[in-house]
């Protein structure tokens, strides 16, 4: 009877552990995923992609902390760097695309369709 405390009844209220961080990272990933699928503005799609990348970095840092190593943190350092370079190149591509087509709505960029 002494074990009927609130963290036992509701496991989510226990001390913050790895599962909580993974749940947050997973939800962030899913939010970015839904944003990529639903939005039509290319720039907002790109921002949702960055959200997914951020979710992965959060998961990596959480694992690195809970395993007591530093490798996850160093890997996240590289992920942030590569993501910044990727954003620069991707936005340059979007600007070049806008110059040709004069739109950034994905619905109107369908010339590759049959």
């Amino acid at each position: 009877m002494s074990a009927l405390s609130l963290p036992t009844l509701l496991p989510v209220l226990a001390t913050i552990g790895l599962n909580h961080y993974i749940a947050v990272a997973g939800m962030l990933f899913v939010i970015g995923f839904i944003g990529v699928l639903l939005r039509q503005n290319t720039l907002v799609i790109y921002m949702s992609l960055e959200l997914m990348l951020n979710a992965a970095t959060l998961a990596a840092v959480a694992f690195s902390r809970y395993n007591g190593t530093m490798d996850g943190n160093v890997f996240v350092f590289f992920i942030i760097t590569v993501a910044a370079a990727e954003v620069a190149v991707g936005l340059a591509i979007i600007v070049a695309l806008f110059r040709k087509r004069h739109t950034v709505q994905v619905e109107e960029l369908g010339t590759l369709k049959n």
């Binding site: 226990a14 699928l37 720039l43 530093m70 350092f77 590569v82 110059r99």
Partner: protein
């Protein structure tokens, strides 16, 4: 205390991420993205990765989103989405998202991961450890990342260079 902080920052991050996705205006989405990045940096601080929290704010919230805002305002998008997406797309997206989250949840539901607070104070909280690892074991990826940044810069310059109209062919 840190439990309450975790919930506050996690809610802030997720709420602003939802607002990024669900906002009509692209500039509003970018600003909410900044809030989301600040929430993520706070979560990094809770995970004792202080250097990464600062890097997150400096690089992501300070450079990447600023670049996004420049491009959004440069392209002069009028009004945002036309809200033409069909209901089937919304249903499919929500179903895929729910499946993804269920997949992640099932993976971590009964796993033998420690739920208690992690052992060891500050395994990654000193910059010296970070630098030592970066310059000994991860030296090659660091140098390659330097090259990658150079190549990205060259690529951006080439992609955004406005070429003149091509000259007439040798028909005359």
């Amino acid at each position: 205390m840190s439990d309450a902080l975790f919930y506050i920052f996690a809610t802030l991050t997720l709420a602003s991420a939802i607002l990024v996705v669900a906002n009509r205006n692209a500039v509003n989405s970018a600003v909410f993205m900044i809030v989301s990045f600040l929430g993520m940096a706070s979560l990094f601080v809770l995970l004792e990765a202080y250097f990464l929290a600062v890097i997150q704010v400096l690089v992501y919230a300070g450079a990447v989103i600023v670049l996004f805002l420049f491009i959004i305002m440069l392209l002069d998008v009028k009004g945002g989405d036309r809200q033409k997406f069909r209901p089937i797309t919304a249903i499919a997206a929500m179903a895929a998202g729910a499946l993804l989250f269920t997949g992640v949840g099932v993976l971590f539901k009964d796993a033998a991961l420690q739920v208690a607070a992690p052992a060891g104070p500050g395994v990654g909280s000193s910059l010296k450890d970070f630098g030592a690892l970066l310059f000994t074991r991860y030296l090659l990826p660091m140098q390659v990342t330097g090259f990658l940044l150079l190549i990205a810069m060259i690529g951006v310059i080439v992609l955004s260079k406005r070429f003149d109209a091509p000259k007439q062919g040798p028909t005359a």
